[in-house]
Amino acid sequence: MSRLEVKLPGLLMKNPVMPASGCFGFGQEYAKFYDLNRLGAICVKAVTVEQRAGNPTPRVAETPGGMLNAIGLQNPGLEHVLEHELPWLEKFDTPIVVNIAGNVPEDYKEVARQISKVKNVNAIELNISCPNVKEGGIAFGTSASTAANLTEQVKAVSNVPVYVKLSPNVTDIVEIAKAVEGAGADGLSMINTLLGMRIDLKTGQPILANRTGGLSGAGIKPVAIRMIHDVSQVVNIPIIGMGGIFEVDDILEFMMAGASAVAVGTANFVDPFACPNLIDGLETRMDELGIDTLSSIVGRSSALCNSNR
């Protein structure tokens, strides 16, 4: 096993880095910059049954150390993804994770059923945490019982492992994580964006047409680390960690906090080469810190915490 390899349900990753859903389209744009086989995995934009138009523009606003987005799950719909996007990805031999969303449980199930039959789909990421849509999305992610119920239904129709993507906009993320684990989730993805707003001083109105948006970027990292740490202490399923990863050290920090792999979102916008650059920087930094293999530090903080008690 190589130093960078990590193994998660459905995902044998040559390195722990995948792009985060919604920040990488279906891969075609960034394939113009580098070979996507360099990635540990690819996580694509949320897919819904029908094509979705998303929210009006402006859809993004900058914040100190971060950005808000309110895309609103715009996507070409399940059929188009099955016919065009996933086939295009067949030429790569890196695992594919498909993020799925919907308004009602039936929508999620429909997407999960069909997507998980596709031969190059290795896992589903169940998005119960999109803050930018009126129905579905975050509404499923803020109640433990609703989240567990949806997880169970989606698991029942999926042929591939299901990672549940949690919302940080909750009082007790540990409770929700435990509930979805109990409902059969194979893993967790955390965190989605924090709800935020920016006001345009010239108009006194929110910059985003949707008024609120999801906060991502460097500034949210400590919130993600805290939640991943807390959740990794109590669940026995792996966590894909994300939220503000911009530097090589951030990857190691997420893994020490309890993540088994990581996803990089906003950083792709700052530098289209963010993912391969981070991957390339990992080994040197591991040498400096005396880390032999990544698999040895995964959940290290969790292990140490336990032995400290």
Partner: protein
């Protein structure tokens, strides 16, 4: 593949009108340009604040010196930081991005009407050069708030007729760019500027033409869907109902998208 990132060195930086700066950047990226109207995505500073790149249109290109020129207005934090960079400093540039103004169908002696407002004017300059190179005739209408704001007038004047409009009438025709349309005849128009102006130009113009749009952007390369606009009709080739301004645009056929 021509899109890339590159640290480009500033070889010129000057204020050409109040809060309007002209900056020249040197690097190989300059020669990768496909068409006038394309833009670059500029990282004005390393670090996390500002976080996002800033989209700025390419105003001029010097292929021999491998330089490109931008003209930008200081709006907020990012453009302010850019204006504070000095000659010799570098900024990281992603580009060239987007689909620019198509000029393939312009024939020698065709008359092209270029209509620009404010910081929508810069991309029209390289367009005007390309068009005149093809032997086409260029008429340019440049709209400003007032006489003090005017820039690029002389440069355009060397390429053809220039009509200035100012909102307060302090120079040229008083009012908006469309006030200058009367009596002009042309074969195609190209326009870039604020949305209101684009709408007015689209409805006043009597020929086919092209408009260049602006929108807040995330990635700049078509991956994040921050910058979409709706096609008036689903795109005939792809069936798509929306366009990404960063990669399908910023230039569209007049009437092709809702503005």
């Amino acid at each position: 593949m021509t899109m890339r990132t590159e640290d480009m060195k500033i070889t010129e930086q000057k204020e050409v009108a109040p809060k309007i700066f002209k900056v020249t950047l040197s690097g190989e990226l300059a020669i990768a340009l496909k068409s006038p109207g394309q833009f670059i995505h500029v990282q004005v500073d390393k670090g996390i604040d500002p976080m996002l790149r800033r989209p700025l249109s390419i105003c001029d290109v010097n292929l021999e010196k491998e330089e490109l020129t931008l003209i930008y207005r200081v709006e907020g934090k990012g453009t302010k930081l850019l204006s504070e960079k000095n000659i010799g400093d570098s900024v990281n540039v992603l580009g060239p991005l987007g689909e620019g103004f198509p000029i393939e169908n312009v024939k020698e002696n065709d008359t092209c009407l270029l209509v620009g407002g404010g910081v929508g004017i810069p991309p029209l300059y390289y367009l005007a050069k390309k068009l005149t190179n093809k032997g086409a005739k260029v008429i340019t209408i440049l709209g400003f708030r007032n006489a003090g704001d005017i820039f690029l007038e002389e440069e355009f004047a060397q390429l053809g007729e220039v009509i200035i409009t100012t909102e307060d009438g302090s120079k040229g025709i008083k009012g908006f760019v469309t006030n200058a349309f009367k009596g002009l005849s042309y074969d195609v128009f190209y326009t870039c500027g604020p949305k209101g102006m684009l709408r007015a130009v689209e409805s006043e113009a009597v020929t086919a033409g092209f408009i260049s749009l602006e929108e807040r952007m995330g990635c700049g390369v078509g991956a994040c869907l921050a910058c979409v606009c709706d096609y008036t009709e689903p795109n005939t080739e792809t069936g798509k109902t929306y366009a990404k301004i960063c990669s399908d645009g910023p230039v569209f056929k007049a009437g092709e998208v809702r503005i």
